[in-house]
């Protein structure tokens, strides 16, 4: 297991490095990055000042070195709009996004996994069709449109739920549903196909040959094996959710990092945009690594390997 983990950590580090290079290079794509790094409406003198400050006239690799240096020190720039370090802003908004993602993930697993299992075991015809429709719509409808429709229905017409902000469970319901539907569909699909694979496996056949009751075959032998790919996907999906939530957070004015990114674009606050993208990307890499490690712990084939 140790070798497995070391290897994974190595890959993660490489990914982080490549990520920083990618962001770095793209910003310099535009020809004059000073325009981005300066507040809107700045003068020519300001532009020159920025150029010297960031060393934009120095060779590329020098710039990159300084870039990495500031990253490692935790300096991800200052927001023009909020006039605070972006890292501070990001960290203050992160819990809200995590809350939303957790709620959406809970929804997607609670709905997705059982429906997937039922669809695989083919217990009820009606349930199977309803599940298919649910999945198809979930995978096709844009989450922000679902959010808008929910607002129209539950806030404007029925007046039951608040249309924006956070602070209570009532505020959480609609955004979590809008965000989670797509993932509920994805998890349902994967659970179903994973379960079908496992049900057709030789060890399930042997379990039946042993004369075990069907309920035990499914609950013990099939379930645990089928769940592994689903949980792996769910782990990664958690960070993806945080990212995709940009639009949902914007629709519901939910104070998370998605909305922060939107503000960065709306107010042309480039340091915020750049820092958010870097941090989001880093989060994906780190969570992927954690999921891989978790995998190592669950699957005895990896845990007990040298």
């Amino acid at each position: 297991m140790k070798r497995y983990i070391v290897k994974r950590v190595g890959y993660a580090l490489i990914s982080l490095v490549l990520l920083s290079i990618t962001i770095f290079l793209f910003v310099r794509l535009t020809g004059d990055p000073a325009v981005l790094l300066v507040e809107p409406g700045a003068s020519q003198a300001d532009l020159d000042a920025i150029r010297t400050q960031f060393g934009l006239d120095r060779p590329l690799w020098v710039q990159y070195a300084r870039f990495v240096e500031s990253l490692v020190q935790g300096d991800l720039g200052h927001s023009f709009y909020y006039r605070t370090p972006v890292l501070e802003l990001y960290l203050s908004r992160l819990p809200s996004s995590l809350l939303l993602a957790a709620a959406a993930m809970a929804f997607s697993l609670v709905i997705g996994i059982p429906t997937g299992i039922i669809a695989a075991v083919r217990v009820n015809r009606w349930w199977d069709s309803a599940g298919k429709v649910f999945a198809l719509l979930g995978l096709s409808l844009p989450s922000f449109w679902v959010g808008l429709l929910l607002i129209l229905f539950f806030s404007v017409y029925l007046g039951w739920l608040p249309s924006s902000g956070s602070g209570s469970v009532a505020h959480l319901l609609m955004p979590a549903f809008a965000l989670g539907w797509y993932f509920a569909a994805a998890h349902m699909r994967l659970t179903r196909s994973s379960m079908l694979d496992v049900l057709g496996s030789e060890y399930v056949k042997l379990a039946r040959l042993k004369g075990l009751p069907e309920a035990l075959v499914i609950a013990k032998h099939a379930f645990k094996n089928a769940l592994i790919p689903v949980l792996t996907l769910a782990g990664i999906n958690l960070v993806i959710m945080v990212n995709v939530a940009v639009v949902v957070e914007t629709v519901f004015a939910w104070p998370g990092i998605g909305r922060l990114l939107y503000e960065g674009i709306a107010f042309r606050d480039f340091p915020v945009v750049q820092a958010t993208v870097i941090l989001n990307g880093a989060m994906v890499v780190i969570v992927s690594l954690l999921v891989d490690i978790l995998y190592a712990v669950i699957d005895p084939r990896i845990r007990l390997a040298r």
Partner: protein, 294 residues
Amino acid sequence: MNGSRSATLTVTWRLAALRSEGFPTIPIAILGLLVFVALFANVLAPDDPEVGRLGDRFRPPVWQQGGSEAHLLGTDHLGRDVLSRLIFGARVSLVVGFTAVMVAGVLGTALGILSGYLGGWVDQVIMRVTDTWLALPALTFAIFLAAVVGPSEMNIVIILGAVYWTRYARVIRGEVLSLKERDFVRLAIVAGCSKWTIMKRHILPNVLNSAIVLGTLMLGVVVVTEAALSFLGVGVPPPKPAWGLMLADGKKGLMAGYWWLTVLPGCCIMLMVLSANLLGDWLRVKLDPQLRQL
């Protein structure tokens, strides 16, 4: 072994596979309708999609009180005709979506073939880049790029292509790796064909199946991403009528109950994406059962 013969076989087999039951008539009809509308928007739209009369703002659709026959589906916050904007929006969505899918597809397939067939350091480099780009969620990456280069229709196509080619590269590379072991490729190598010839005449026709299936599935994804970008304000810039932009505008009237500005553009997006997804699912099952893991 003649590469063009294997290509012909693949195409014939593909056509034959299509001509059987379970044919998704409705999705294809809807997509066809959308293409038709997009092509003939100038003729079909009753009004100018970009100019509105301020005295005519927020008119509801014709069947509601306050609606008028001049604006069958109502008007938006600038008095522009919703129906015309939806029709021209189809053109925008299809052009952007289709072009982006082509860009991503061509780039991704080419790199996937190179990566899979040549192996070695080419493979390593391409794969590392792919993995990193895949690590960045598409929407975030697209927003970042749009913030850097500025939004315009052309830029969006390039950005979407740049963000999504990695999906193709991964899948195509996998296919190429298994194709490399097949006999007709080995025979070609033994016969002395150059690497480029093999890649062009033997490998490429055989990965086209996967590329097509992936393309149909990606169309839905790309359209939704473009809508999201336009909604956030970094996609197709106003006053062009993109459906995502209409949703952003529609939000302004949402709390006042102007439902048609939100529901109608979203329905259009939904129709296009649903049809593309259904078509893609059907193609995937028909053309290659091995692709079921896509």
